[in-house]
């Protein structure tokens, strides 16, 4: 596997080469510290802006500051599902192992983000709405998104043959991605039909510029964190699934 080290010699990176686990493994190892540094930088900047720079909200007081973690986590949970389905679809079409491994590595962090979003949402809802939970369209669809993640993880975990697990879970992820908008709109219409929008998240007053900045910085922080964690997880998955390959047996990290 000497060719893994010489892609820096080429002017054009051969992207397809990176789809092989043995080539991706060292690259991911090099990228991980970089993403951790970015996570720290964005996280510190975002926390500083959200705690010290952003003004106190006129209506909601200090408690509103939880949105700086809540909103980015919700964005990430939805975005990661799309990325996961895209990797799963790529794996299904091109039959590449790495794509399926990426989908597998993304699922837990996506589920975690969905959970975080629900949890922080409950903490925000108690002082603001007086209830831990309301059957609002967004809350309900976020909960269903969490169920979809859990289904994906459970299906993967219960199929022993990894190749079959890749394909079966890829189909489930793609079906889920088609269903997410349908579920979102059906829940939204159901909500308006049943009780009328007692709570509206959308008519938030025009946000102060600094609040928006805090939210964006925190979103970038979570973004970098997700990438870093996914790369770490995919490295572990590669080692586990390629354990029979020579390059894994001879790699220094495994031997030591």
């Amino acid at each position: 596997m000497s060719q893994t080290n010489n892609f820096s010699n080429h002017r054009l990176v051969n992207w397809f080469k990176l789809s092989s686990p043995s080539a991706f493994y060292p690259l991911a190892g090099k990228l991980i510290p970089f993403f951790w540094v970015l996570t720290l930088v964005f996280g510190l900047a975002g926390l500083w802006v959200s705690f010290f720079v952003a003004p106190v909200d006129a209506v909601q007081g200090q408690g509103y500051r939880i949105i700086f973690i809540h909103v980015p986590a919700s964005w990430m949970s939805m975005f990661i599902y799309l990325v996961m389905a895209a990797w799963a679809g790529l794996g299904l079409i091109f039959n590449t192992r790495l794509s399926a491994m990426m989908a597998q590595a993304l699922a837990p962090i996506g589920a975690w983000m969905a959970f975080l979003s629900l949890w922080t949402g409950a903490f925000w809802g108690k002082p603001m709405w007086g209830a831990w939970w309301v059957w609002d369209a967004r809350l309900t669809s976020e909960l269903i998104l969490l169920f979809l993640y859990l289904g994906f993880i459970a299906l993967r975990a219960s199929i022993d043959d990894p190749r079959r697990a890749d394909k079966a879970s890829a189909i489930l992820a793609l079906v889920g991605v088609v269903n997410v908008p349908i579920i979102y709109f059906s829940v939204k219409w159901w909500n308006t039909l049943h009780q009328g929008a007692s709570v509206s998240l959308t008519k938030a007053p025009a946000m102060a510029q600094t609040m928006l900045w805090g939210m964006l910085l925190m979103a970038l922080c979570l973004w970098m964190y997700s990438i870093a964690v996914t790369l770490m997880r995919v490295r572990a998955i590669i080692l586990e699934r390629e354990a029979h390959a020579d390059w894994v047996r001879q790699s220094i990290e495994v031997k030591s």
Binding site: I144, F147, A154, L155, D160, A168, V175, I182, S186
Partner: protein
């Protein structure tokens, strides 16, 4: 086309030889819906209000009971592989199995629902709407369920896993199905719900047989 009909006939014949499995799912529907008044109390106004939701959730769960059987027996004795190897397109055969499942697990619910509805003190027009929504909705349940049934073939704890995978995908059908009955009972127009249920059925019919047959191919690979 004859392959499709032959598939439906075969599956129905197999079910007729073993009636107990089907009847179990139907009894489940009846028993579960009868438990609610016992648990909640026999207040007629309250029962009328919860009837659409209870009936629909019970319908969801009882179709789920029969789903595991859709491919599992054929997978175990190898006839699913023979079906996949046959010159007929697998999509047609899978569609046949889905239709057979609906005839066995969905259609009886449509016919039983008015009887249960009377227990919940629904009026005549609500009963019609309930039957209509079940008629449009239960085929979608069978179609979506077939994906889960194919994906969990030969998997440890398959039937529990199946419910975890499939129930979240059933939510739109539940919302529009129960919503139509509810809207009708409070004097609103329920045609919008019917249109949406019909749209779901058409979408599901157009795409899901292909997805399910892909899933079957993965399982027998």
């Amino acid at each position: 086309m004859s392959a499709l009909l032959a598939m439906i006939r075969r599956d129905l014949l197999l079910v007729m030889r073993r009636k107990s499995e089907v009847l179990t799912a139907l009894f489940f529907f009846v028993v579960v819906t009868s438990l609610f008044p016992l648990g909640i109390g026999a207040d007629a106004a309250l029962l009328r209000k919860i009837a659409p939701g209870v009936l629909w959730v019970a319908a969801l769960l009882s179709t789920l009971l029969g789903l595991h059987r859709m491919f599992a027996a054929d997978y175990q004795d190898g006839s699913l592989e023979q079906l996949a190897l046959s010159p007929q397109p697998l999509v047609l055969l899978v569609t046949g199995k889905i239709i057979a499942h609906w005839i066995v697990c969905g259609l009886p619910l449509v016919l039983l629902a008015p009887v249960i509805g009377i227990q919940f003190d629904l009026d005549a027009s609500s009963l019609y709407v309930l039957m209509g929504t079940l008629f449009l909705g239960t085929p979608v349940l069978s179609l979506i369920g077939s994906i889960g049934a194919a994906l969990t073939l030969g998997v440890r704890g398959g039937s529990v896993l199946l419910s975890l995978l499939i129930l979240p995908l059933y939510i739109p059908v539940l919302i529009f199905g129960a919503g139509a009955v509810y809207a009708n009972s409070v004097g609103l127009d329920s045609s919008g719900h019917f249109s949406l249920l019909g749209a779901l059925l058409i979408l599901a019919l157009a795409f899901i047989p292909w997805v399910s047959s892909a899933a079957v191919k993965i399982a027998i690979e």
